[in-house]
């Protein structure tokens, strides 16, 4: 059964939505959520437990989550959302700089000190990473 997750970008005036299923972007809309029917038939199941508000790629979010989990030695039961703050998970300043180091290694980027302060959630980390990776390309 295909599953669709809706992704939104930012809180700003221009809202860009991309709806993807099975790694294929099937439509963009500038209003609220619109879902396309999956090609594989059947009813889409929508992950509504957390509507993700993000600009970053899901793979980036996943990789960031994995690095955070490892650094903070989280139990598998600990739920992570893009909005989860590192401090809520018990990260202190040393943990945060290690997370930044882990991200730099994983994505082969360099995070300036000014930016390391704005990385307080998984979302913010992923957004910055995608921006830096794009700049490199």
């Amino acid at each position: 059964m295909a599953s669709i997750s809706a992704t939104f970008v930012g809180f700003g005036a221009s809202v860009n939505l991309s709806v993807r299923t099975d790694n294929q972007i099937i439509g963009k809309s500038s209003s609220l959520v619109s879902f396309g029917l999956p090609r594989t038939g059947g009813f889409p199941s929508i992950r509504t437990s957390r509507l993700q508000i993000c600009a970053a790629k899901p793979e980036t979010l996943e990789k960031v989550s994995a690095i955070v989990r490892k650094q903070l030695a989280l139990t598998p039961e600990t739920e992570l959302t893009p909005q989860t703050k590192f401090t809520e998970l018990g990260a202190d300043s040393l943990d945060t700089v290690e997370i930044v180091m882990g991200l730099e290694e994983e994505f082969d980027i360099s995070v300036e000190e000014e930016n390391s302060e704005i990385i307080t959630t998984i979302q913010e980390a992923a957004d910055l990473i995608d921006k830096l990776v794009e700049k490199k390309a």
Partner: protein, 301 residues
Amino acid sequence: MKLDCYQRTFAHSSSSLTPIQLPAHLETHLWYVKPSEVKNESLLKQYLDILSPRERENVMQMRGEELRKSALLARTLVRTTIARYQINSQINPRSLKFRKNIHGKPEVDWQFSNDSLPPPLHFNISHTSSLVACGVTVDSQIGIDVEEKHRSIKHTVLSFARRYFSKHEIQFLASITDPQVQKLEFIKLWTLKEAYVKALGKGFSGAPFKTFTIRFKEDSIHQASEIVVDSFDEPTELTSNWQFSLLELANSHYAAICTEKHAASAEGKRNVPTKLTVWKTIPFVVDECVSGTDAVKTIYG
């Protein structure tokens, strides 16, 4: 010499705080709590009750009971510690208000009805899951940092140092051959650097770790006598404004304290030893002065 450090004081009633005099001009007070020693549920409820709604919210957002407890104790320690000094006859920890300075450093938002100047009390807190500490001074900016001595890090000491520390500090750590000693020295250096940045109050990006060096100055007989900071960005007069102490607390933690020196003092910028008094506390229950005991070992300062 006036002794304001009594051994152990039990609170008169379950909601009272033993009052204490403000630290003197060149004095620092350090208060700490060990979360593992606070188990009483009704006491923890009492602590929750003195927090502001926002602080309560932040505490409840922490993931896991241990994290919630240390977050709760951090705010409780700040409020009860400041309330002890009974500034302007204010004795209720619940009524204290806080705000952040322009760089995000927390400070007290004194609520005075008249135009009197706010008291020159400064504070800074640091917490690990196993120890929460609050430093207090008068007339002097302060930054503190505590870390578990044996705290694990995911990267090697040198890769961490190469990424964040200055050249001199990397060389210092690289020259230590014993990996265990190297790790301990790394943790000490980290706490000192954190304490400095927190004292400056400009945030992590305001004084990037790579732009300043903390080193141990040796005296004429090559003994480490003083911790000093050299900055690439700030001229020497400004960096000599700061002095450091490094302690081992409760045999388990390193605590670094960075405070402002007073140019106005008669001795000028010469390093005048500051008096440090340390209390272990369980707010509303018991305060124990631990200066001069095994719980506080001075490494430098």
